[in-house]
């Protein structure tokens, strides 16, 4: 009955067709993924590039009615806020991820932590802002860069925790056993071997979290508050690009609208540049043939 399985010409043509159709669909989906990013970027270039000049990067906002001015303080402020956020979010997130994957695996506490992280991931950013406002800003009686950094940091934690966990779980057990078999203490094996082996994925997780909070406005409204002047003091209100864009975009002045577009363009560029930079730095020194 072998004839039944013989491929006829028509059958072959049909298979070629479905093959091409499937490939075509995959390519189409890829285009649909990339298209919005390209569209946004092109539109931002079109709207914002004309307002970009040296002054934008070196000057602080001018009072209403005066032409010119820039967002230097907001760029620096965003940098400080993101640095503070990362300082909190990266170590706590990675630490919790290590706990989930290496120490608490399957335990009740681990399940609780994982559930909490997933819920935290779904908390609206405005709620995060209000929470930090009542926890830090109200007792201190003033807005501050510090409270803004805390809000961003907490928002980074769940993404980093869950990706760290996933990436650690992908490290084969044979690698852990190799380290333990050499008489390496468990904590050392986790940090120097397992985490290191998973590091490309863990870094991707950190960058995702970073890029996500870099554009957050809502959690900063009640915490960092924004500032029209220079300030690098973490106990004072501080300017941030998303806040500045928000304020300028809803203002009635054309000049401010143009600056808002430029600010949005700079924000996206900064995210792209910092992600690329981290990638570059962390993939240097990778050995021939690794993975």
């Amino acid at each position: 009955m072998a004839t039944q399985y013989k491929t006829s010409r028509a059958n072959y043509t049909w298979r070629m067709f479905t093959n091409h159709a499937a490939t075509g669909l995959a390519v189409l989906s890829t285009i649909l993924v990339v298209a919005p990013l390209v569209a946004i970027f092109v539109y931002l270039l079109y709207k914002g590039a004309s307002s970009l000049n040296l002054a934008f990067f070196t000057q602080i906002p001018k009072p209403v009615g005066e032409v010119g001015g820039g967002m230097a303080n907001a760029i620096v402020g965003s940098g400080i806020l993101l640095a503070l956020g990362s300082l909190l979010g990266v170590p706590v997130g990675i630490g919790a991820g290590i706990f989930l994957a290496e120490f608490g695996r399957g335990g009740r506490l681990a399940n609780f932590v994982r559930f909490t992280a997933d819920v935290l991931n779904g908390v609206p950013s405005i709620v995060m802002g209000i929470s930090v406002y009542s926890l830090i800003v109200l007792p201190q009686k003033h807005f501050s860069a510090f409270s803004g950094g805390v809000a961003l940091g907490i928002m980074m934690i769940p993404t980093i925790t869950r990706t760290t966990e996933e990436m650690l779980l992908m490290v084969p057990n044979a690698i852990r056993e190799a380290a333990l078999g050499l008489g390496v203490p468990n904590w050392r094996s986790v940090l120097a071997i397992t985490l290191k082996t998973a590091s490309p994925g863990v870094i991707t997780g950190c960058m995702l979290a970073f890029a996500r909070v870099a554009g957050e406005t809502a959690p900063l409204l009640f915490t960092a508050f924004g500032n029209q002047f220079w300030s690098a003091n973490i106990n004072q209100p501080i300017a941030a690009l998303p806040l500045q864009i928000y304020v300028y975009a809803i203002s009635p002045y054309d000049e401010w609208h143009r600056l808002a577009w430029a600010g949005a363009l700079v924000l996206i560029l900064l995210i792209v540049v910092s992600v690329a930079l981290v990638r570059f730095v962390t993939t240097r020194g990778v050995l021939k043939g690794a993975n």
């Binding site: 690698i175 056993e177 190799a178 380290a179 078999g181 008489g183 050995l287 021939k288």
Partner: protein, 252 residues
Amino acid sequence: MGVGIEVSNLNAWYGSTHTLQDINLHIPANQATALIGPSGCGKSTFVRCLNRMHETNPIGKVTGTVRIGDLNIYSDASPVEIRRRVGMVFQRPNPFPTMSIYDNVASGLRLNGFRNRRMLDEVVERSLKHAALFDEVKDDLKKKSGASLSGGQQQRLCIARALAVDPEVMLMDEPASALDPVSTAKIEDLIFQLKSQYTIVIVTHNMQQAARVAERTGFFLNGRLVELDSTHKIFTNPGDKRTEDYITGRFG
């Protein structure tokens, strides 16, 4: 130098499965002892009890005593100390993928806080030579990842890595089962040379391999040690009917 191993009343469990039952045996110093038996008979679990790797499994449990040299490994020392004295080579080569060849061999010492560069250089070179790998990799020591080597080279790298911490006993859990015949021959040659300095316990599915490398051979069946005697006697005149059935291929 190698040291002898004395096992008495060893029992091991995975959860409620009684994997090893009342194992009593002696493994002499500076010889290779092969453990044979069908899949699931407990021979791998047995070697994992000799460096306390069995208990790294959350559902693993062990009772009984194991003396390695003058050390009772379940009461006199921590698992970490034991594993520095009892090296292990696994079934599948498992070099650290993010590390260079050099770093792989140095890892055991480095991760135990050893930093002296010149000494590390010496140890790495000596271990790689000992594992008969040095000539093949000496130009790429710090350039290539351990994972870029061929399977057989990776396994010799893992042996070099285990040798670098200068153990007294080497446990090998089917070290050649994932390798081609040429690589297998190299590993067997290596075991032959290592015997003069280490006590070797090798688990194998390959009875010819046991006959080639080991002075003594033990036969495991269903979690029990059926017999352990000189390799020659096991393969020519076994004391137990079940051993004879197994080596003549009547089951397993």
